[in-house]
Amino acid sequence: MKSTHLFQAQQLVAGYDHKAIIHGIDLAIPSHKISVIMGSNGCGKSTLLKTLARLIKPMSGTITIDNEAIGDLSPRKFAKVVGLLPQSPIVPEGITVADLVGRGRFPHQSWFGGWTKRDYEAVAEAMDMMNITEYANQHMDELSGGQRQRVWIAMALAQQTDILFLDEPTTFLDITYQIEILDLLTDLNRKYGTTIVMVLHDINLSARYADHVFALREGKLVAGGTPTEVITSERIKDIFGLSCSVITDPLSGSPLVVPQGRHHVQEASSSDSNRFLTK
């Protein structure tokens, strides 16, 4: 079981080139839970994730892990506790699956220590978890998009961190693979208690897979809580500027957002959907 950490941000302001994108966010990441950062394009989801993962230095405010500022930790030490899978990592030409997964062991290895049994085990375990052991010796370019994404997640798993950040892990994948990836991440969370924080584009998948949702609008945190607490039609309208109905997903019981456009609204609709129409 992964250890519990108190991971907090206070009055966080961050962005690029002196231009703030995140404007004063306070949050605490729930340990051993799956958290999703959601919001419209350009609201600062990825910036927030990258700042929490120490890729971007905050302009002001603090990020602490167990009451220690993350900037004070050595990068390697931080990388043993917090892992990050960026949105579009680069596949070195000709690399095999196992070699790529093995690179996740970097923070655990000393320059001249070589590979220990623990390193091998971590790689084997990560590949097993992501069901890619059979591809171990294949080249990355022989795999499909979904398989590749599993390899990348396995690399992050080989890092064996308590906390894992993922920047849109399901983007560019077919719906089948999106579900597969999210199921695997849930397995990971259930089995090891790994704290997962990810940016997801799809509201409904967020609602289904998240234990906790951080809703962002224009660089500010407008809501945080369980999907049921956060995802209401008013709030979706507020965050995305989209009129919608929120119903209960018959499969999972989580909120399900049914977007409302200008077309394709049935005339003889129930009073329930009329309520949203007139709103």
């Binding site: 990258k50 993962a53 120490r54 890729l55 050595s74 990068p75 390697r76 030490k77 931080f78 990388a79 043993k80 892992g83 990050l84 899978l85 960026p86 949105q87 579009s88 990592p89 680069i90 596949v91 070195p92 030409e93 000709g94 690399i95 095999t96 196992a98 070699d99 790529l100 093995g102 690179r103 996740g104 970097f106 923070p107 290895q109 320059w111 590979w115 049994k117 091998y120 790689v123 084997a124 052991t133 171990a136 010796n137 690399m155 992050a156 890092q159 950040f165």
Partner: protein, 345 residues
């Protein structure tokens, strides 16, 4: 402990396939190539005469003396080749660009400009002081090109770096020409240096380049694991605990001193770094812990073979090695450029 290898047989992936065999072959090739460099040239020498020249100092034949004269040149060319090979591997890793090479990034030309300037304005003619000029020129150019390449959105992308390097290189070449053309004495002295030659390789040249080679190689080997992480992208590398800025500076510094020192003594020899690294990548795969040190061997091989070819083709005089490497390198660069278009940089 002893069962770890038997229960985990799938972990052979950590070492490139047939690595020991490849290493052995390269060392054999290196020896053959060194022997060829001693034996071949405007005047060929037989095997037994070569052995006399090498191991029997009491024999004072004409052939044995030719061989002795060629020893320092051979060692020098092996050193320069190794330095250029590793330099190329480092620059490709730092810029994450398959077609990076000291000559393509303009670092060579920067070193050349400083050496020629020292020649023309400060009357510096010998190798030892000009090595510092070359290093300053190489370092200055590297910083300049990196600075230009990082301007604008997205920071120092590989493609911007190469464009900045090519533009800088062209501008600096014209400056070199502008300084040399009106000065006959500089022209004369540096005509051959300018195209790149290891013909001047003396023991003192080897001694001069030696420390730089060792320092550069050491930094290269130490940074190789982190460069492996950097190959996955800056964000992924940072996520793995790599200080990408510090790493880039260290690796680029090593690359610059390796190619700067070489350029000071042998002139701007192009494409060796490019070829050496790609040959090794092709054979060994992408793991830089193997590719970087082995690029030293392939670089030494390529430069020495090119030098021997130049001597044989140009006989009774010799064709400068820089001309030979450019002839082999240019078509391969074009091939790589076409191929790498498929991959998004």
């Amino acid at each position: 402990m002893n069962n770890s290898s038997s229960t985990l047989p799938q972990h052979s992936w950590r070492v490139p396939k047939h690595f020991k065999l490849i290493l052995l072959c390269s060392i054999v090739l290196l020896v053959v190539c060194a022997a060829a460099s001693l034996m071949l040239g405007s005047r060929g020498v037989g095997f037994s005469e070569m052995m006399d020249g090498l191991f029997r100092p009491e024999i004072d034949s004409y052939e044995a003396n030719i061989v002795r004269k060629r020893i320092s040149r051979t060692v020098f060319s092996l050193c320069c080749g190794a330095a250029l090979g590793v330099s190329g591997a480092l620059m490709q890793s730092v810029t994450r660009n398959p077609i990076a090479d000291p000559s393509i990034l303009g670092v060579n030309t920067g070193a050349a400009l400083f050496v020629v300037s020292g020649m023309a304005f400060l009357n510096i003619g010998s190798a030892e002081p000009s090595i510092w000029l070359a290093l300053a020129g190489a370092g200055g150019t590297a910083i300049f090109v990196y600075g230009i390449g990082s301007m604008g959105r997205g920071g120092a992308t590989p493609i911007k770096l190469v464009l900045a390097g090519a533009a800088t290189s062209a501008a600096l070449s014209s400056l070199v020409a502008a300084i040399m053309l009106p000065r006959a004495y500089v022209m004369d002295q540096f005509r051959f240096w300018q195209v790149g030659s290891v013909g001047a390789g003396s023991w003192s040249a080897v001694a001069t380049i030696g420390p730089f080679l060792i320092a550069g190689l050491l930094i290269a080997i130490v940074t190789a694991p982190a460069l492996n992480a950097l190959a996955l992208g800056d964000e992924a590398a940072a996520g793995l605990g790599v200080r990408t800025g510090v790493l880039r500076i260290m690796a680029a510094f090593a690359g610059v001193i390796l190619c700067g020192a070489t350029t000071a003594l042998s002139g701007p020899i192009g494409f060796v770094g490019l070829l050496a690294t790609h040959v090794m990548r092709l054979i060994l795969g992408p793991d830089l812990r193997y590719v970087i040190p082995m690029s030293a061997i392939s670089g030494a091989l390529i430069l020495t073979i090119s030098d021997v070819c130049g001597r044989v083709i140009g006989s009774p005089g010799e064709l400068e090695v820089g001309v030979v490497t450019a002839f082999i390198g240019a078509p391969i660069l074009i091939l790589l450029a076409i191929r790498s278009k498929v991959r998004s940089l």
